[in-house]
Amino acid sequence: MITFDNVTKRYADGTVAVDGLNLDVPAGKTVVLVGPSGCGKTTSLRMINRLVDPTQGRVLLDGQDVQAANPSVLRRGIGYVIQHTGLFPHRTIEDNIATVPLLSGWGKAKARTRARELMDLVGLERAMARRYPHQLSGGQQQRVGVARALAADPPVLLMDEPFSAVDPIVRASLQDELLRLQGDLRKTVVFVTHDIEEAIKVGDLVAIFRPGGQLVQLDTPERLLGFPADRYVEDFVGFDRGIRRLSFFAAAGLDLDVRAVLTRETTVAEATQVAKGIGEQWVLVIDAERKPCGWVALADLESAPETATLADLSLVGWGHTFRPDTDSLRAALDATVLSRTGRAAGVDADGRVVGVTTYERMRAAIQSAEEAAVERQSGWQG
């Protein structure tokens, strides 16, 4: 959809901002350009809508050289979101959003209707339509910025560090919002950030740049974390990439233990027998609806009266649960680490216990996921 064909940008004083860039952005995908300051990511982005022109090479949009198009016309077909929003302070929210439609000749009524639709889309209350930007919070302003970029329904969206100027909590919700929008709209998005975590969270493909404008690696987030191309990428990606990579493996791959789960009515004698039989130190106690009540240790079972039921004993808190159907191995591992017993309960959508995982089972699941990934990688490279 968007192609950088050996693009170089050199400035009059000799600085090379972009150095021989070859990059394909597939239609309907989010490609994140990430790297430190001075690596050419913003310059590359701005060559797509011709705010910057290349010194050498071509940028193609849908097979057409962007140089061939009239710049203003080209830009009206491309959404553009910047870090500090650039919302027009002298226009209301709805008029801000309606900017490109109005530029393209839509009637005021039609443009404003469209603006309100977009406000719904990005999660802004319609009551804010007549307010002015300075009356909104940072997060709300960013949503307006995104709505404004989407107003004319462009197939391509360019985003230049759009969420960097807001606090982490707001940033996380804006990122989630973007993922949700992409799920619905499937725009071709080129996203620039200096934050590798944001790139991994948001991107279908991540392009890592080196200072001096060189593209070092273009890959899916999972492959980037698992197979960094060189030392630079490895450092840039960060030190705990192994664990972070686990968020790309499904917890569904876990083999959960269903035997160590017993109801409250179970007698101590039965429980002790089960625990010894399967060789487990802890047993999970559930209620009539299969909701977790807590853990009981084998040692406590052995010292309790045989005829008592599990309901009579004091239990250790069940800690954090995870969802084997939707969560990743990372979430499962996190739940396991946080638990006092070294075990985590997997639950379904209603909170009912499905099974229990242990460190050993986690290890097994991680290992098989790794092996599968390596196979994919060599298949992909071959």
């Binding site: 910047i82 650039g86 530029l103 002015y132």
Partner: protein, 224 residues
């Protein structure tokens, strides 16, 4: 309040309001000189200031202008015009326009220059042509300073029109100058009172202009 006593005495004696030297006539003349000069100055200075601010070039011109303009003695300028042009409308028009141009020019320049670059970047990025960015983004956002420049220009024009009476023009300064010449303080006081009233009224008018011309979103957000 001695001054007010004198002014009141003169203002309330009926003859001031009729005839060839009447108050209404002088007020009209004063407004005429001021209005015409301000208009011409604005027609020259606004496009120039906006253009220089938009392109970012020519800053040196602006800075030099800013430094020199205030130093020029207005009375001297007016009288010098008399020496060269005798007594004609241009004698007062040229100095008045010349004195009004710098504040309008400088404020328009500062206003457009000071527009947040993110706004013009966003405008261009969305597909506005250079003209559209100027019309829809830069000028509206620069409006507070543009109006300020016009208001400052108005102050200088009204003040200089007052002094112009020294070289024989009409206007409210006529009462002051003539009264001083003939030692009639009540006329002087009356004239001065009228000048004060007119000057303040012009300022009020600009408050109204500001309310009309400055977009709502900018007023509360504070001055750029």
């Amino acid at each position: 309040m001695t001054f007010l006593r004198f002014a009141w005495a003169w203002l309330t004696s009926g003859q001031q309001w009729h005839g060839s030297d009447s108050i209404p006539l002088r007020v009209a003349q004063h407004l005429g000189y001021s209005g015409l000069s301000l208009l011409i100055a604005a027609l020259i200075a606004l496009p120039l200031g906006v253009a220089i601010g938009h392109s970012g070039r020519g800053a040196f011109l602006i800075v030099s202008l800013a430094n020199i303009w205030r130093a020029i003695p207005t009375l001297g300028l007016l009288i010098m015009m008399v020496v060269y042009l005798g007594f004609s409308p241009l004698t007062w028009l040229i100095p008045l326009v010349a004195l009004a141009i710098p504040p309008i020019l400088v404020n328009a320049y500062e206003g457009v220059l000071g527009v947040d670059p993110d706004l013009t970047d966003a405008g261009r990025g969305m597909g506005m042509t250079g003209w559209q960015v100027l019309r829809r983004v830069e000028i509206p956002v620069a409006m507070p300073l543009i109006i300020l420049g016009l208001r400052t220009g108005a102050i200088f024009v009204v003040a200089t029109a007052t002094i112009a009476a020294e070289i024989g023009t009409g206007g409210l300064g006529r009462f002051i100058i003539d009264g001083l010449a003939s030692n009639q303080y009540d006329q002087v006081a009356g004239g001065a009172a009228l000048v004060v009233a007119l000057a303040l009224l012009v300022q009020f008018a600009f408050v109204g202009v500001r309310r009309l011309a400055v977009p709502a979103g900018l007023r509360q957000a504070g001055r750029s």
